[in-house]
C-alpha cells in the first residue's frame, strides 16, 4: 500500500522503508528553530542538564521576532540570553532585529528549509514551512532543548487529511480565504494530531508565498503539520536560495487518508473569521459593514511581498478612514527593503498607515498596536481568541490583505472591489 508525502518524509528520517500512522518513531532533524520567547527556556534547560555542545550549530537557528526591538527591560534580557548563546555556540544562522524578521517567513526566504526536510520549531506556526514540501511542526521549548543535544526527536506518525481545491479562485481571493474556509468547515480541532495535505489545480497555481499562508494556519485547525507537494513552482523558489540539498517526495496514488475533502474554489470567495475563534468563519458579505478601530496588515500569515503588493494596489492614492488606524508591518527586513524599493512603503505612508520594522508586533498582543477593551480590529494574522491581540474584550476579525486594505480605507469591513474595482486579470 502506498504512503503519503508526510509518511515518506518521516520514514526517510527514521531510517525506515515505511511508516504507518500511529507508530512512534525517532527522526533525525534537518533544522531546529527557536525564537526570543521560546529559546531562552530551551537554553535554560540545555544548560541545566550540563549540555555544552549543540549537536550541529549550523542546524539550530534562533530568530528574535516577537518583542523586538525590545519592548521593555525584561524582553531585552530574554533577547540577550538568546543572543549570547548564539554567539557562544557560534550559531551560523542567528537573526537579530534589522536583519531578520518573523521566523516563519524568514526561514523559507533564507533557504534554510528545503523540500523533504524534517523541521522542528519551538513555535506553533512552524507548520508554515510545509508549503515547501517538507514536514515541519511546532513544539515547546523543552522538546527544542532536547533536540539541541541529540539532533532528533520522537513523533507519532500522523494520519493525513487531504484538502483538494479545484476550479478557479474568485477575483480578489487568495490562499487566506481557502484556509479560513477549511478551518470554518472542520473546526479548531478538526485536524488534531493530523497532517493536512493541500492538493489540486488551485493549489498548484499558487505561488510559494501563498502556499506558506495555507500551511501556516494548519495549527488553527489543530493540525500537526500542513504540506503542499513540491513542484516546479517550489523549485523555482528554492533553487536560488537553498542552503542545503533537497529531496522531492510525492504522495502515492494509493496512499491512505483519514479523510478527503474536495472543494470548488470558485464557490468559496472572500472569508472572514469572526471573534473569538479562527473557526467562526463567515463569507465576507455576512460581516461587511462592521466598523473597525484598527487594521493590522502583518504577521507570519500575510506580510510577504505578494501580500503587501495586493494591499498597496488597493490603498494607492487613498487614505485610511478618519478615526481608524492602519498598522503595516512587513514580515522580514528583506521584505521591508523590497517594499521600499518598489515604492509600496511610500503608498502606505501616504495613505496614513503606521509602518514599522519587521516584528510580530500586535499579532500576539505583544506591543506595537495592542488593542484596548471593546476595540475592533481586522487583522491579516491567524488567531483571534479572547485577549490574543490585547484586551480580552477586544474583537478581532481575521481576513486576507485585500480585505484588510479595503477595510482600512472605508473604516468598515469591506470587499476590495468597493475600493479598487474589479481585480485586474
Amino acid at each position: 500500500m502506498g504512503m503519503t508525502i508526510t509518511e515518506k518524509i518521516l520514514a526517510a528520517h527514521a531510517g525506515r522503508a515505511e511508516v504507518r500512522p500511529g507508530e512512534l518513531i525517532t527522526c533525525r532533524l534537518d533544522l531546529l528553530m527557536g525564537n526570543d520567547i521560546t529559546a531562552p527556556i530551551a537554553i535554560r534547560e540545555f544548560e541545566r542538564v550540563g549540555a555544552t555542545r549543540v549537536f550541529d550549530p549550523d542546524r539550530l537557528t534562533i530568530v528574535l521576532s516577537h518583542f523586538v526591538p525590545a519592548k521593555d527591560i525584561r524582553s531585552a534580557d530574554q533577547c540577550r540570553i538568546a543572543r549570547e548563546f548564539a554567539k557562544r555556540h557560534r550559531l551560523r544562522y542567528f537573526y537579530d532585529e534589522g536583519r531578520g524578521g518573523i521566523e516563519h517567513i524568514l526561514l523559507p526566504q533564507e533557504g534554510l528549509v528545503v523540500p523533504g526536510d524534517v523541521v522542528l520549531g519551538a513555535d506553533s506556526h512552524s507548520c508554515t514551512y510545509g508549503g515547501l514540501g517538507c514536514f515541519a511542526t511546532g513544539v515547546g521549548s523543552t522538546d527544542l532543548a532536547a533536540a539541541m543535544i541529540t539532533g532528533e526527536t520522537w513523533f507519532k506518525v500522523p494520519e493525513s487529511m487531504r484538502f483538494h481545491f479545484y476550479g478557479r479562485l474568485q477575483p480578489w481571493s487568495s490562499a487566506k480565504d481557502l484556509i479560513l474556509y477549511t478551518i470554518g468547515q472542520i473546526g479548531v480541532d478538526g485536524a488534531s494530531y493530523r497532517a493536512m495535505e493541500f492538493t489540486g489545480e488551485v493549489v498548484q497555481r499558487l505561488p510559494v508565498d501563498q502556499r506558506l499562508t495555507l500551511c501556516n494556519m494548519a495549527i488553527e485547525a489543530g493540525g500537526k503539520s500542513g504540506i503542499v507537494a513540491p513542484d516546479e513552482v517550489t523549485l523555482e523558489y528554492v533553487r536560488p536560495r537553498a542552503k542545503r540539498p533537497w529531496t522531492l517526495y510525492q504522495s502515492d496514488p494509493d496512499a491512505r487518508y483519514h479523510s478527503v475533502f474536495e472543494w470548488d474554489a470558485g464557490t468559496i470567495g472572500l472569508q472572514v473569521a469572526c471573534p473569538y475563534s479562527p473557526d467562526n468563519v463567515r463569507p465576507l458579505p455576512e460581516v461587511a459593514g462592521v466598523e473597525v478601530d484598527q487594521v493590522f496588515i502583518g504577521s507570519c500569515t500575510n506580510a510577504r511581498m505578494e501580500d503587501l503588493r495586493i494591499a498597496a494596489r488597493i490603498m494607492r492614492g487613498k487614505k485610511v478612514a478618519p478615526y481608524v488606524r492602519c498598522i503595516v508591518i512587513p514580515a522580514t527586513h528583506q521584505v521591508f527593503q523590497e517594499a521600499l524599493r518598489e515604492g509600496l512603503i511610500e503608498v502606505f505612508a501616504e495613505a496614513g498607515c503606521a509602518v514599522s520594522e519587521a516584528t510580530c508586533g500586535p499579532c500576539l498582543g505583544g506591543y506595537n498596536g495592542v488593542l484596548g477593551a471593546e476595540e475592533v480590529c481586522l487583522s491579516t494574522s491567524n488567531r483571534n481568541f479572547p485577549g490574543r491581540m490585547g484586551h480580552p474584550k477586544a474583537k478581532v476579525y481575521l481576513a486576507s490583505p485585500a480585505v484588510a486594505a479595503a477595510t482600512a480605507v472605508t473604516g468598515r469591513i469591506s470587499h476590495p472591489e468597493e475600493v479598487a474595482g474589479p481585480e485586474a486579470a
Binding site: 531510517g15 535554560r44 542538564v49 506553533s124 523543552t142 479548531v188 480541532d189
Partner: protein, 179 residues
C-alpha cells in the same frame, strides 16, 4: 502517587493565550507565571487555587501557541494535574516533557466545579469523591510514562546522553538512534 484536589472547570478550546496571556511571556519563572494563570478567563483562579487542585477542560484543551509558559504557569499555580476530553497536540507534548500529569477522558464532562478528586497518574484512574464516581483515562504511552517518571524530558535525555547525573528511572524501550 495519588494526587488530590478540587476541580476548576472550563469549556472547549481553552487556548494558551487564556492560560497565560502574551503580556507575561517576558519571564519563564513558574511561580511568577502562576500568579497570572488563567487571569483573563477566570480572574479569581490565581487567588483561590490551592496546591493540588485540578484543572478540568473539555475538548482541545491548550490549543494555540506552543508556549511552554502555559503548562509552566499551571504548575507554578500549584495545580497537580489537568483533565480534559481531548488535548491540543503541542500542549500534550509539553505536559509530558515537563512532567505535568494529564488525563484524557470523555468523562471530563461529568466533573463539576469544586468536585473533590483523587487521581492516579500511574493507572489513569480518577475518583470523584463528591459524586461517588470513578472514571478511567487513556493511559499514556509507555515511553511517555518513562519521561514523566524521569522527571521530564530533559532529565531523560540527559541521562541518555551521559550528561549531568539526574535522578530518575533507567529508561528503556525509547530508542535514540544516531543515524
Amino acid at each position: 502517587m495519588t494526587l488530590r484536589g478540587k476541580a476548576w472547570t472550563y469549556g472547549d478550546n481553552l487556548d494558551t493565550d487564556q492560560i497565560i496571556p502574551a503580556r507575561y511571556l517576558v519571564t519563564a519563572d513558574p511561580k511568577e507565571l502562576g500568579q497570572h494563570c488563567l487571569e483573563d478567563a477566570s480572574p479569581e483562579f490565581a487567588k483561590q487555587v490551592r496546591p493540588g487542585d485540578v484543572i478540568v477542560g473539555l475538548r482541545n484543551f491548550g490549543c494555540g501557541s506552543s508556549r511552554e509558559h502555559a503548562p509552566l504557569a499551571i504548575k507554578g499555580a500549584g495545580v497537580s494535574a489537568v483533565i480534559a476530553k481531548s488535548f491540543a497536540r503541542i500542549f500534550y507534548r509539553n505536559c509530558i516533557n515537563l512532567g505535568l500529569p494529564i488525563f484524557e477522558t470523555e468523562a471530563a464532562e461529568r466533573i463539576a466545579a469544586d468536585d473533590e478528586l483523587e487521581l492516579e497518574p500511574e493507572t489513569g484512574e480518577i475518583r470523584n469523591l463528591t459524586r461517588g464516581e470513578s472514571y478511567r483515562a487513556q493511559p499514556l504511552p509507555d515511553f511517555a510514562r518513562e519521561i514523566m517518571a524521569a522527571g521530564g524530558l530533559m532529565n531523560y535525555v540527559a541521562r541518555k546522553a551521559g550528561l549531568a547525573n539526574t535522578a530518575g528511572v533507567t529508561p528503556s524501550g525509547y530508542e535514540t538512534k544516531a543515524d
